[in-house]
């Protein structure tokens, strides 16, 4: 293949790739930032259930050690052996982590209670209790 053809192909995938990258980041950011799309979060300490106006969004920052309850639909359970991750739909801004096997089915509505902690600069929730909401 001649140099000119390689350059044309390279320019095409560079531009398309960057546009796709920008679109995916934009899409993720839009979903995470919209209160209406976020998984519902309650503050367990105050026991005050959030409504659409007081719902915590990506901009809030809870302190490490504070308790939190998140409700939503299970999108995916990622099993990494010693640790599992719970993906919620709509996406939660927290990484939801369990050190026990997660026995929940994808698509089921769950209520997760756990403690907030920071790991490598990222806020995550360590699950204390998970229950399926009927």
């Amino acid at each position: 293949m001649e140099e000119r053809k390689i350059k044309v192909l390279a320019a095409a995938i560079l531009i398309l790739g960057l546009l796709a990258l920008a679109y995916i980041i934009w899409d993720r950011g839009s979903e995470g930032g919209k209160p209406a799309n976020s998984a519902q979060i309650e503050d367990s300490e105050s026991n005050q259930k959030s409504d659409s106006s007081s719902k915590k969004t990506a901009s809030d920052s809870r302190e490490d050690g504070s308790k939190i309850t998140i409700t939503g639909k299970v999108a995916q359970v990622i099993d990494r052996g010693k640790v599992s991750f719970l993906k919620m739909s709509p996406a939660s801004k927290y990484q939801i982590v369990s050190f026990d096997k997660l026995d929940v089915e994808e698509g089921s509505e769950v209520e997760v209670t756990g403690k907030v902690q920071t790991y490598k600069g990222k806020k995550e929730v360590i699950i204390d209790k998970i229950s399926v909401v009927e």
């Binding site: 140099e3 995938i13 796709a20 990258l21």
Partner: protein, 408 residues
């Protein structure tokens, strides 16, 4: 809205910063992309105040992809031995000795660009077949690795060479076992691989009357489109195998491809090898999302940052890799041209000496005195392998033996 625009800007910034770093790691002999990734992950906590985990992951992916395009340059322009060793070195060196080093870079770049596009196109298929294939092959992994090693030994012509190759496999395997399992040091792969494959070649060049002929920027070596399709298919298949099997390097994948393509020409081999390196990295991203195991140091670093690495993350990072492949192609051809012009001006032996000194200092900093000892031992083994006239890829047993040992 401003937050989202900021996220896009920082992702694009991370992409270009990562690509620039990949340019640096790619053209620096001995500086492996895994090392740069490990340093980034160790400083992720302090970087977290400025960049998100996903930005740092984009940085690493862009860096590793561009690295796969540029590492061909020091291999061709700095690792060239004399004619006496020409039979046991990569075809890129042969083109360099014929004054066509840039041709080698162009062919590898063409293979990498086309294979990157095809691997992204076929990756959805892997999402479907990988989990069941992994369940089938995982219990047999050690036997697959042993079979690959034996096939490569049997590929040598004549029983004398096969015996020498077997001795090389045993020695490299023993060295790899001691270094990776027995000893405790930082970055053990840096002195091990730099000695076996880098410094040994350069030292042989210094000892010989190597002279590099004047280099020309030409486009003489062209591969017919039909043959390119066959080579890309082989590159995608082999690159995926490398991404899937632990302990198997791109060199083994390329040689296995030549088992499928017995009449392969040196120029075609370069096209194939260029493709395999890039495909391997892109496929590693997909493999990690589907089976949860990273077979590549840079992807392992990404998992450290994003433990819940899922399919959406894999799509985002594959797209970043594709864009970085486009940028990597421009950089490889641009720097390849500059390198071929510089080579006619720079004294070759002094350049080799400078490269060896740089790698030695890097090892002393990263791995300490024990690393220097490993570097000296592995360099000696690399020289013995080159002198014995068998392919140095048998020395990749230094990675395969520890993997088999860990499985059992």
């Amino acid at each position: 809205m401003t937050d989202v625009a900021g996220s896009v800007s920082s992702a694009i910034l991370a992409f270009f910063a990562g690509s620039s770093s990949g340019m640096f790691t790619g053209i620096t002999p001995g500086l492996h992309v895994n090392l740069a990734s490990a340093i980034l992950v160790s400083s992720a906590e302090s970087l977290a105040s400025v960049f998100s985990s996903i930005d740092i992951a984009i940085f690493i992916v862009a860096m590793a992809t561009v690295h796969t395009f540029l590492d061909v340059i020091p291999s061709i322009f700095l690792g060239a031995p004399s004619e006496a060793y020409a039979v046991s070195v990569l075809p890129g060196h042969r083109l360099l000795l014929a004054g066509a080093g840039y041709e080698a870079v162009r062919l590898a770049t063409a293979g990498a660009v086309i294979s990157a596009i095809v691997s992204v196109i076929v990756s959805p298929l892997l999402f479907v077949i990988m989990p069941s294939l992994e369940a089938t092959l995982s219990p047999r992994m050690s036997w697959i690795i042993i079979t690959v090693t034996v096939l490569l030994v049997l590929r040598e012509k004549g029983w004398g060479k096969r015996l020498k190759a077997s001795v090389m496999v045993l020695l490299a395997g023993l060295l790899g076992y001691i270094v990776l399992i027995g000893l405790s040091m930082d970055d053990p792969l840096l002195p091990l691989l730099s000695g076996l494959f880098g410094a040994s070649t350069l030292l042989l060049s210094l000892g010989e009357s190597t002279s590099i002929p004047p280099q020309f920027v030409t486009e003489m070596a062209l591969i017919p489109p039909g043959r390119q399709c066959v080579l890309v298919a082989c590159a995608v298949f082999s690159g995926w195998i490398v991404a899937f099997l632990p302990g198997v390097g791109t060199a083994q994948a390329a040689i296995l491809s030549t088992l499928l393509l017995p009449a392969i020409q040196p120029t075609e081999y370069l096209f194939l090898v260029g493709g395999i390196g890039t495909v391997n990295f892109i496929m590693s991203i997909v493999t990690t999302a589907t089976i949860g195991k990273a077979r590549n140091g840079a992807v392992a670093a990404v998992i450290e940052l994003i433990p819940d690495f899922d399919i959406q993350t894999a799509i985002l990072l594959s797209v970043s890799a594709l864009a970085a492949a486009g940028l990597g192609a421009f950089l490889a051809m641009g720097i390849g041209k500059t390198a071929s012009r510089l080579l006619s001006v720079l004294p070759y032996k002094a350049s080799c000496g400078a490269v060896i000194s740089f790698v030695t200092v890097l090892i002393a900093i990263r791995s300490g005195p024990l690393g220097i000892l490993v570097f000296i031992t592995s360099t000696a083994l690399g020289i013995i392998a080159s002198s014995s006239g068998v392919a140095r890829l048998h020395l990749m047993a230094c990675l395969m033996v520890p993997v088999v040992a860990r499985i059992h």
